[in-house]
Amino acid sequence: MTKDRGWLYLAILTLVVALTWVAVSAIIRFRQPTVPKDIEKAAAPLDPNLDAAFFTRLQEKAAAR
């Protein structure tokens, strides 16, 4: 009985392997970065705020000279 169903099991396993193949290749493709490194670097966030207290202190020091 098992020998007669060998082709059926083989077909099922082939289908499972094909599904796994598709899933893994989809996951790998989804995880690949698409933004070039130089653009990613250029888009890095920038803090525009300067330390006002530091410059105030600097001004006071300069005035005291």
């Binding site: 289908l15 989809a26 966030p45 020091k61």
Partner: protein
């Protein structure tokens, strides 16, 4: 059952060979199922997989590029704000260059040490800077924060208590940034003079 009389002579032996196989109830029952599974697997690998890959890659590219556009727009706004902030402190840049120079420049700190000593009325008995990298990268300077390095120095002065205290305060308030890490006072029993051994750091930017 197949009627052999209707089949041409040259094809008859193929039907004779296949007929027992086709007549097998197991083959009849499972052939369709097995063929379907194998066909689905074939089309999954060679047709659906490339299509799904392309769709996912395009969706990811669209999402990534939208995020990049948003990040760039935010950065443009921040650059405009940074430019306005810089224009407000632009007049202080020369003073900043003295306070935090881009090179070690120990001579500025030394001149401050000597200048304030004479104005405060203390006597500098010893002054030493350690490991000053003047040119090149022979010695790796100690890093205080990102881009900021320090020069260690030690100092020994003698004077009255008030003069020494005034001197140390003036040094810490000097234009070139100086921070004392250790100050030791010692006084002679029969004298109004005190001696101070101080260790400190002066800072500069590593470009």
């Amino acid at each position: 059952m197949i009627d052999f009389k209707t089949i041409p002579e040259r094809y008859r032996r193929y039907y004779t060979y296949l007929e027992p196989v086709i007549a097998d109830p197991l083959v009849r029952g499972y052939f369709g199922l097995v063929a379907s599974f194998l066909l689905i697997a074939f089309f999954l690998v060679f047709a659906l997989s490339p299509t799904i890959d392309t769709i996912l890659a395009l969706r990811k590219k669209i999402a990534d590029q939208r995020a990049t556009v948003t990040a760039l727009d935010t950065k443009i706004s921040n650059l405009i704000i940074a430019q306005e902030n810089y224009s407000q402190v632009e007049s202080l840049i020369p003073i900043l260059e003295t306070a935090l120079p881009g090179v070690p420049a120990p001579q500025v700190a030394i001149s401050q040490i000597v200048e304030f000593a004479s104005s405060s009325g203390v006597v500098v008995t010893a002054a030493q800077f350690k490991s000053v990298p003047l040119v090149g990268d022979l010695a790796t300077p100690p890093t205080v924060a990102e881009g900021l390095s320090s020069l260690a120095f030690s100092l020994a002065v003698t004077g009255t208590r008030d003069a020494v205290t005034r001197y140390l305060k003036e040094l810490e308030q000097a234009l070139r940034f100086i921070r004392f890490t250790n100050v030791t006072f010692s006084a002679a029993a029969d004298s109004s003079q005190i001696s101070v051994d101080a260790a400190g750091l002066t800072y500069y930017y590593v470009r």
